[in-house]
């Protein structure tokens, strides 16, 4: 099998160079480069409409790139789509389960698309239902499962072929916090078993929890890449001081606190002061005679990185 033609990096499972996706006049993905290595968990972080899903669909060999080079598992998606897809697991944004059928039958139907023998599918399905904590719902119609359970069933479905790469498009959007943590925990386990994860998300906490490396996307372009830690160090300060000034707004105060911080961001409901020591700066704010309604000192997150890079928040 052909190796990926990247000098010094023969282990890239997915490699893209100058990747472009256009829909008519609209450019969804505007010339991006990235490499995803075996065994890592790689994230695409960005707001809705950043081009993440289009990128996912190209990596999944469903959507053909408009321009640029793409190799997946060392093969060309244009020529070997079905062969590549045989070794990918896809968790699409919408679950698209067969709601009329039981959880078990959903796995059997999907497994047959991979030409797996029935007995083998059954064996795997039982262990996957256990893995996703759905064993006791195996014979329930998919329609009767909760949102979190449907999501977990979709993940189980994507694993029936024992894929080398698991591609997850917004894996926890729309789930309640408890359901999200359960999904994260299962994904973390898969990663520790050596499954390569490719994740898109617009939740910075998800990216921080799950991704070894990530790229930040905005309007079809990659605006930054690195580990979560590197991105925060490179594009933000150690701490952030959040000030709220109540109903009268923070308008008049933004300028007077500017000299205390490395950088100040004005959000509709609060001011963000990027600083090294939040408590020290808060004291200085009080010393100026300002009395914010509330003040919070926290560490910088990827949300701050995104705000810095694009001037916008991730979730709006």
């Amino acid at each position: 099998m052909a190796q990926v033609g990247i000098p010094g990096n023969a282990t890239a499972l997915v490699a893209a160079r100058g990747l472009v996706k256009r829909f008519g006049e609209f450019t969804a993905v505007d010339g991006i480069d990235f490499e995803i290595n075996a065994g890592e968990s790689f994230g695409f972080l960005g707001p809705n409409g950043a081009g993440k899903t289009s990128t996912m669909k190209m990596i999944s060999c469903i959507s053909p790139p408009t321009a640029g080079e793409l190799t997946v598992l060392g093969m060309d998606p244009k020529r070997h789509g079905p062969r590549i897809r045989a070794r990918l697991g896809l968790v699409p944004q919408e679950d698209a389960l067969e709601l009329e059928l039981s959880a078990m039958d959903n796995l059997i139907m999907y497994g047959r698309y991979f030409d797996l023998p029935r007995a083998e599918i059954k064996r795997r399905a039982l262990s996957l239902l256990e893995f996703t904590q759905l064993s006791d719902r195996a014979n329930d119609k998919a329609d009767n499962l909760s949102g979190g359970m449907k999501r977990r069933l979709t993940i189980a479905r994507s694993l029936i072929s024992e894929p080398d790469v698991l591609i997850l498009d917004e894996p926890t959007t729309g789930l309640d916090p408890q359901a999200r943590h359960l999904v994260w925990e299962r994904l973390y386990r898969l990663k520790s078993e050596g499954v390569t994860l490719v994740i898109t998300t617009h939740y910075m906490d998800e990216a921080e929890q799950l991704c070894d490396r990530l790229v930040v996307m905005d309007r079809g372009k990659i605006v930054a890449h690195g580990t979560p830690r590197q991105l925060i160090e490179r594009h933000s300060t150690r701490e952030v001081l959040e000030l709220r000034f109540g109903l009268n707004g923070h308008g008049p105060h933004a300028e007077s606190v500017a000299e205390l911080a490395v950088r100040v961001e004005e959000l509709p409901d609060r001011l963000l002061l990027y600083v090294d020591d939040g408590d020290e700066v808060l004291a200085a704010v009080h010393a100026k005679g300002l009395t914010p309604e509330s003040a919070l000192v926290r560490r910088s997150t990827l949300e701050d990185v995104f705000l810095r890079l694009t001037g916008r928040t991730l979730v709006d």
Binding site: A38, L73, A86, L88, L99, M109, R112, P117, E162
Partner: protein, 274 residues
């Protein structure tokens, strides 16, 4: 099919396979789905034609036979019975190619689920159309047995009725599914049903020979697949008709099915490979 162990991934172990081609796996999906849900369709697929037959034979048939003696040399029931099979084939195939196909694109999204596996849009088309043909043939087998029991079959060729029904079905399913693949909502389906399917059902020689129609309408009817399907079914059931005429009817249905399949593959690819 063999799977090569890939040195660049941690996993990539050889997967056990059955050895089925992709479209056959996609066909299995339809069969398995049917096997899990067929009970709800029994009435429309099997009981309906029998009711029709009873009504036509005992009601209309009696009246016609009393006044006209026979139609094309046979009792009215014998004349109309094979046509009802072709009509059923049209109805089942048209239904199967409208709402369920749109649902698989838009609501259940099961086509999108399928193409995230080794299945391609072309496999989906072959599987869907094969399934419609098989489904219609299954109904055809039951129906042919019922016709035999009513004693209205005049030729051993009647054993081919399920095949003729399947071909009639295909000539509807393929072009209609190709059309559905271009639609975003089902609004036009009901219009097509009222202005397309029902007139075809009334004017394609099911209930009377088309020699009863004015000349211009007879010309129009030559372009209606149901007319050809009815003619073939009647030929097989009654043992009438010449090979040349039958070949003409067959050629029409095959050509339409073939053209429809090509369009279907094109439209499925356009919709799914974006």
């Amino acid at each position: 099919m063999t799977t090569t162990h890939d040195p660049i991934t941690a996993r990539g172990a050889a997967q056990p396979t059955v050895g089925w081609s992709p479209w056959r796996r996609a066909l299995w999906y339809h069969a398995a789905f049917w096997a899990r849900t067929w009970r709800g369709q029994v009435f429309s697929s099997f009981l309906f034609p029998i009711l029709y037959l009873a009504a036509m034979g005992l009601g209309v048939g009696k009246l016609v036979d009393a006044h006209a003696g026979t139609v094309q040399g046979v009792p009215y029931l014998d004349f109309v019975a094979p046509a009802l099979l072709a009509m059923g084939a049209m109805q089942i195939s048209a239904n199967e190619s409208m709402w369920p196909v749109l649902a698989s694109f838009k609501w259940t999204r099961s086509y999108w689920t399928a193409i995230s596996t080794p299945i391609t849009p072309r496999d989906l088309v072959f599987a869907k159309l094969s399934w419609v043909a098989i489904h219609v043939a299954m109904v055809g087998v039951t129906y042919t047995c019922v016709l035999g029991a009513f004693g209205v079959l005049h030729s051993p060729l009647a054993i081919l009725l399920p095949v003729a029904a399947a071909l009639t079905g295909l000539s509807y399913a393929a072009p209609i599914a190709a059309y559905t693949a271009t639609q975003e909502n089902p609004n036009s389906f009901i219009v097509f049903y009222r202005l397309g399917i029902i007139p075809m059902f009334l004017f394609s020689g099911c209930f009377y020979p088309i020699s009863q129609l004015p000349g211009w309408l007879r010309t129009v009817v030559q372009f209606v697949p149901l007319y050809h399907g009815v003619a073939i079914c009647r030929t097989l059931a009654l043992g009438q008709g010449t090979p040349l005429v039958t070949a003409y009817h067959l050629a029409f249905l095959l050509a339409l099915s073939g053209l429809g399949t090509v369009l279907c593959v094109r439209n499925f690819r356009r919709r799914l490979e974006v």
